[in-house]
Point group: C2
Chain length 468, copies 2
Amino acid sequence: MATAPAGSPIRRALAEAIGVRHVIPGGEADPKFRADVLGKYVADPLFVVRPGDTAEVAACVRIAAEHGASVTVVGGQTGTVGGAIAAPGGIALSLDRMNRVIAMDTVSMAMTVEAGCILQTAQEAAEAEGAFLPLDLGSRGSATVGGAIAANAGGNRVLRWGMMRDMVTGLEVVLADGTIVSSLTPMIKDNAGYAWKQLMLGSEGTLGIITRAVLRLRPKPTTDQTALLALADFASVTALLRSLEVRLGGRLSSFELMWGDFYAAMTAAQLAARPRPMAEGHAFYALVEMLGGDPDHDAGQFEAALGAAIEDGLVADAVIASSGRERDALWAVREDMVPGLAAYKPFMVYDVSMALSAMPGFVEQVRIRLEAAFPGVRMLFYGHAGDGNLHIIVNVGDKGMAHEREVDRIVYEMTGEVGGSIAAEHGIGRSRIGFLGLTRSPAEIDLMRRIKRALDPEGILNPGKILE
Amino acid sequence: MATAPAGSPIRRALAEAIGVRHVIPGGEADPKFRADVLGKYVADPLFVVRPGDTAEVAACVRIAAEHGASVTVVGGQTGTVGGAIAAPGGIALSLDRMNRVIAMDTVSMAMTVEAGCILQTAQEAAEAEGAFLPLDLGSRGSATVGGAIAANAGGNRVLRWGMMRDMVTGLEVVLADGTIVSSLTPMIKDNAGYAWKQLMLGSEGTLGIITRAVLRLRPKPTTDQTALLALADFASVTALLRSLEVRLGGRLSSFELMWGDFYAAMTAAQLAARPRPMAEGHAFYALVEMLGGDPDHDAGQFEAALGAAIEDGLVADAVIASSGRERDALWAVREDMVPGLAAYKPFMVYDVSMALSAMPGFVEQVRIRLEAAFPGVRMLFYGHAGDGNLHIIVNVGDKGMAHEREVDRIVYEMTGEVGGSIAAEHGIGRSRIGFLGLTRSPAEIDLMRRIKRALDPEGILNPGKILE
């Protein structure tokens, strides 16, 4: 176990900067600082430091740099790619003391939060004022806003409101040399100089430490409509998506796609909790959501849009939720995955994206290649198809994790062949670092290295992530 | 006049790389390469080069770098801040030969274009396939897609679809050392490494030369509703905006605000062409647009949303367009500005943004300060208020342009005081370069410099813009 004696210079300096009780030896820290959520990666940080404000974050970074220690921010530790695992001999930095909503302006529709603020706390603070923070993730109760910015989180409503990138207007970061760069502005439009904030989004803590942010809010929708639709082929899926986008205007907020075998596996395992909303056996199932603001007409327009799709022969079967309970039951097919996944353990999970037109061919080829390499392989396909994001679950037998890199390679090589991305929303972190070159050219990776060197020449910030 | 003899080494090298007829001495080139649209800045480039493909662009950049000449891309020359003015002894690079729509995928809703493609050409190509490129500018007929990317253009529909930043998924650029970085991908979600494409957006040709791009398309809306509304105070403006955002869901596409004196001046000058759509004398006028997809219900929902706002006491008067002709007449109030502006010549024009809550106080203070400094000053306020963007026209007398920097300073200092941006959508270019520090901290500007040095250490690309 990594230790630094109580009287070591780095420990003394950190304790002096932020208070001795906020410098915790790694071995005594909460498990989330020592392993990722999937248990694939372990860390053994020298210390966990808990600065109380931005100036203290800057002091910690400067002290770490002076002593040659790296700094990895650990937020909710809800990521899946080992992005928040401290490097050997490094420091884990927690923003759990910087977890407040600082300001709310519902005229300008902007809120200012500290980076350690839990996403759900931010959502609820907005809703208490009649506003709406559209980013939503399954891990909303433990993921932090800072982590969601560092990962450029996506979720279920990217189709309508975009990713975290589209909701951050203001940002404050601490650079690798301890410089504080603060621009906590609410402007939707700001072309005064380089978009350095955009560079921080999705940089996984390797270019700067996000300490505070201003988030764009929206007026809270007052109606929601949800339906589960069965479809016979992929051409119907894309035609349905575009038809609903037109007919519902900007109100289509989710279009979640499930391949037939995913639907069958999940709903079979959920039977103890709730009946199947519709029969299995269709090629595809789409869960669609419309969020609107006209209680008198929205339900009718939603039904009319679905009716038109049925008349056009795009939809084989449809269930429309007529209550909040029914809506939750439809979403549960997609979100209550624990029972259904039990039979697939141990499994690998992928998060790729591509042009929608490439998706059916991609799925077919991945099936063929994995079946050839791993007879008996079992796969499930689902995703946020409205934005080209596909998730894949793969089981290649009880000892399958020994083959993880081979499965990775097959999936990611095929992703490269269709011009897709190996990381639609979950990032590169540690686990995908060796595959970046399959979809990014040497010139692109060299450009990324130039950016990293310009902002963190000593490699202090979260080393071993994104770039080798 | 800058000249390089026909036999000069740089001219020979350029002619060999791209063909002698595509290397035009600066003095013989089209006027747009020698002055900006407002006639404020002049250029005297060594040559105008017209490469035919990306490899030729890269060759031109390498040759320029070898000979110590800078490279400034000149697109439609529709900008207002002198951003496309070649530096002394530099080369102007035109992409007018690279003006094609290369690919269109209406399943994935993505189109690939060359950077020299005229915006309107791209719009029409999308619409011919039933798709929709939401970016729209008054200069659509001459602005290029590459210029719109380099400027991160905004326009009238940012409220719903965002700026160019939100429409670019793939990008190909030539860096200052001639490296081609190509990532022509259609993915809405792609978190595989640093967001270098975002950094290029709004960088005004100073970090890389954009050669090709993939743009995200949307299904084309099938209905449009337009109304002109009069309002008594700014609190009604913000309440109306949020009310319409809720009631129209994501279909509210424009919310253009005009102060009463702007409305009076424009409509008075337009009387020869068309009658006033409603009386002058109100404090504010808002032009609102809804784009939808349900011909049976959209008009009714739009009227119901406006009716609710009237019942809530937010709207003092309303005119709803009942035909395309009436719609065009309402938009003309805002867009047919040439007759009304004639009486304000010579004038300065500003493009600032801020939190909506700060806007009324900002306008009041700008009026007070300019009236104190320039008795008899005449001002007009209008803008894309839905996204916090305010334009200001200022006339301080017939010889007023001599006072431009003083007026600039008053407007931009006040912008800094409210935490706003001096360049909402038009960029920094040359004209605002001295004011960047009023709204960006030294740490921010230093970070921008680090980025510039990392990507263009020799300062080859469009020098003298954004940063001093």
